[in-house]
Subunit: 679 residues, 2 copies
Amino acid sequence: TGLAAIFINLAVENFSGWKYTATFAIIKHSYFVGFFVYTVFNLALVFSSVYIVTNFAPAAAGSGIPEIKGYLNGVDTHGILLFRTLVGKIFGSIGSVGGGLALGKEGPLVHTGACIASLLGQGGSAKYHLSSRWVRIFESDRDRRDLVTCGCAAGVAAAFRAPVGGVLFALEEVTSWWRSHLMWRVFFTSAVVAVVVRSAMNWCNSGKCGHFGAGGFIIWDISGGQEDYSYQELFPMAIIGVIGGLLGALFNQLTLYITKWRRTYLHKKGKRVQIFEACLISLVTSTISFVLPLLRKCSQCPQLETNSGIECPHPPGTDGNFVNFYCSKDKEYNDLATIFFNTQDDAIRNLFSAKTFHEYSAQSLITFLVMFYSLAVVTFGTAVPAGQFVPGIMIGSTYGRLVGMFVVKHYKKLNIEEGTYALLGAASFLGGSMRMTVSLCVIMVEITNNLKLLPLIMLVLLVSKAVGDFFNEGLYEEQARLRGIPLLDSRPKQVMRNMNAKDACKNQKVVCLPRVSRVVDIVSVLRTNKHNGFPVVDRGQNGESVIGLILRSHLLVLLQAKVDFQNSPFPCGPGVLNRHNFSDFVKPASSKGKSIDDIHLTEDELGLYLDLAPFLNPSPYIVPEDMSLAKVYNLFRQLGLRHIFVVPRPSRVVGLITRKDLLLEEDDNTVMAELQSTS
Amino acid sequence: TGLAAIFINLAVENFSGWKYTATFAIIKHSYFVGFFVYTVFNLALVFSSVYIVTNFAPAAAGSGIPEIKGYLNGVDTHGILLFRTLVGKIFGSIGSVGGGLALGKEGPLVHTGACIASLLGQGGSAKYHLSSRWVRIFESDRDRRDLVTCGCAAGVAAAFRAPVGGVLFALEEVTSWWRSHLMWRVFFTSAVVAVVVRSAMNWCNSGKCGHFGAGGFIIWDISGGQEDYSYQELFPMAIIGVIGGLLGALFNQLTLYITKWRRTYLHKKGKRVQIFEACLISLVTSTISFVLPLLRKCSQCPQLETNSGIECPHPPGTDGNFVNFYCSKDKEYNDLATIFFNTQDDAIRNLFSAKTFHEYSAQSLITFLVMFYSLAVVTFGTAVPAGQFVPGIMIGSTYGRLVGMFVVKHYKKLNIEEGTYALLGAASFLGGSMRMTVSLCVIMVEITNNLKLLPLIMLVLLVSKAVGDFFNEGLYEEQARLRGIPLLDSRPKQVMRNMNAKDACKNQKVVCLPRVSRVVDIVSVLRTNKHNGFPVVDRGQNGESVIGLILRSHLLVLLQAKVDFQNSPFPCGPGVLNRHNFSDFVKPASSKGKSIDDIHLTEDELGLYLDLAPFLNPSPYIVPEDMSLAKVYNLFRQLGLRHIFVVPRPSRVVGLITRKDLLLEEDDNTVMAELQSTS
């Protein structure tokens, strides 16, 4: 994942570098030709991206985070973890981000990390003959899920060069079942990513990577900024939080409507419409980012301290503040071009920058905010890989800087930095849209290297999340719901408290299979209903009893293999399982699985019998029929189950298991009698 | 918790300040009198601490973290969350830390935070008439547990001024059942603590707090140090990790033996022995820390850059490097005194300091390491509040600095700082002893304000934890086991895979109560066995069936109240619960609860009946008797249960609950058919 991130960054920075160098060279002669070259360059990149996605890897569109969240919650979206998706994601991101659209490469990197993890867990892609057998330790669904969680952390760690932020992102945002020993594994993954990324960047420092910038482990270092804050500043900071909550919630709502509209009307019409749409948006984005700065009058360069390291205007071909674009004099700069006619990374760096008071006029910032916000909303949901982190930071830092300008004017205190407010604004917008707390806080600290602002970032995030939660759900939850990914919330719904287990399965007809079933019966059961699991019953000395659960997928494997069919309608002996590898029953990640229609059986075979006992899950979880549905929900959700049997009330209790019974070794503790349990 | 932390810090720093000022003033005239005053001062403080703990709040001894961990895992140690424990902890910490023992105030602050949280959850201490009714929302055990988790986070946030570290500590180290919406609450608590602590420190900056230092939000700022590292350094850093793992595991093992020995032989002999022991250790500590530096020859002050802000020797009465102690000349300093004859905080600051090459001789560092390690091992387990963080950092930074000295010598690179290695050493020892990963990493970054070393800290922690795990368990787990707090691990033991539920309760005789029981029967059941819960059975149309679980504690409440006794042996009507407040059934935190022997009933009352139906838990979790014990364990552990009924195999299945049945509202989703579940 670290190498993938470096590759994407390298490609994007180089494409952008060439683009801006060429454009700046050409506009010395003709602005019209420069505009043409700029637009065509962007269009070509965006076209390559949308072409790859629509024709080769449709699952690579969007950020992929809602789908991964769904996967870890227990819902598999088709194609989300395939090798082709991985390839499409990597090359698609390069096109869409390099093409200057209002989207980021960070979300797609999370998806990339998850794909890599899943492929490693399978030992490579079977389809492209890359499979190997050495990693077959990840055969259980749970281990594979853990690995995908590590992959997500690696994605964030690589995207933001924020290893701890990656761990926390995996923990807070994506996983549904966190187990404490997973912490250590995720942590290890992130540490390795950190070292890989750093090594690659060290190698690039020697100038071998073209336009790929120097930049240390911290993306947007603002350590030169404000170190302290006074209590009067808390009020404007709270305002930033409120703005973030409002704009973030609005963003979620608007994107929801637009995505809904796209799904219903636009994307049904086929690939061509999707390609046309993306190209159109690219044209609009290019036009706005080129033409708007042209309309803006240049400003006089301010007096800068000579040792601040900031030049005005900065030399062409380097990153920095004070871009000279369409200015009549040499000592002038265009403040709108500084943020608009630039890569997003450089624009953010410029917005965060300290010691650059009054670089931007309020008018430019408002223009940029409105235009970029609209572009981000419209771009969201096109058929290209797209992250929302960087656009969110752009939007947030714009209004943050705006508030900062007013604070600087109003309080007349010298040690207030507009860049600090831009940072808080960025945090507030992400908090208001994505509704993360701890992980976002750590990511913001890690990418700006300013630990002293930590309490302020925390407060802004708390305000913006609270305000946002008042209106709607987080961006990823909204999008997951829209895509029909039914995420199970960590808490049961209120209405479940008044329902019981029987109510939840009221209209069901439970189909049971006898232990030794006729093949023809099994086939007809599989054909006539869509359940994924069936109870198996057996008649013993004490009457009928439920002996376990058999999965549809396992039945299909057995029917296809045919080796277990037998003539006698009586249970078979032991040693049957040796006929099968455990791996035969493992469903490959992200595939559609087998269907009963794919299996063809002869008349003779249909008349045979099959003993299900060796293949069933002998102890599925059970609940009595009148248990509160809220309790059932907790059981289902927290243990990550797929099936629970609802059974009649038991007639007697064989035993009672308490904490003491589960502490097998320690039976000599006399102290334990003094202790009382709390839970 | 923030205010408590400030109070403790203020008191400790002032006591230490007076102590060192007085001693330094006196030794100008006589070293012997100085030694006497120093020793008596320490002895008085330690005596006050051990006296408070032994006579007033025995539960305040030690760090309290294993007990809190136990509480959150479901085991209540008597007295651990009482008001008197809180008071004892605060004043005890001041005495023990101010008295110069080899222990810290950070662990006790976690306990302090937990106590405050628990008392708030009860609406104050009932015993001291501080109770109020407004916070009765925390009546359920679960909410109270969540509040205590927040308290722990607040403790760490206040102790280290590390809010994010606090959140992660609560998450990684103390809680057993993490719920995702707890994240947000814990985060909020930490943010408030951060603001409170900062406000108090700002107020102190104006000089109103005596010796309480300036210090910003970061305790030991080493931002002036090394910013980069080369790959050759990774090897010595791995060595530090290995040393940390070895010394940390050794520390756990030694303290385990000594605590065991103390429990069996020493502390049984009463309070006087405990007081005597603590005083003796105080005397030994004072003697070693005073006399050893005396034996050490002073060194010549090095040539320092004038603008580095470091003076040699530093002016008396201020914190800093290069302490002049028993030196013949003015321009000399005593390197052993710089770390030994000093508060621990200042010693750590001096060890972490950059730009002070060759300040310490290897001989001094080794002497200090051996002596302090021994003192820390011996001090652990005395009857005073004692944390292991700061001593751990002391030990770790000593050998870290030692390794750093060799690296500086060997690699002859100029930008290697010994202070950086001291920091890595501190991380490695804590990692090797406490076995935390993410939270420790964030805490180390937060207390030193050096984000650029993050990947190195991660690697060192990974190595030291791996090495330590090879030998034994973490410090808190070892201590919890020793104290008879049976923590349920998050994973079932290997042997459980081959057992089933029936095996776990093989020797039990299950006592069932009928729905309407005679009072005399209930009393005899409660007298004759020690179970905390009893199944209740009822005879309906379909034969006998289990209708729920009644808790011993609830039965005791009913027996004491007597209002529900009835003459008829038939079920009563509805509306009975109105006779009771819900709060009657709530067990106060950390109390022993009622006993059957406290309840006195007349002959007449014993002959009456009691209908248990309104008071029982109607749907306890059930498992079939042949379910794998590992599965039962997961159910018990992850849902935080107290009782599970083991029942015979069900004879039929009423229904099957799947993900779809639990997504109540969304039944219109045609997309769902495309999706497949993964878990």
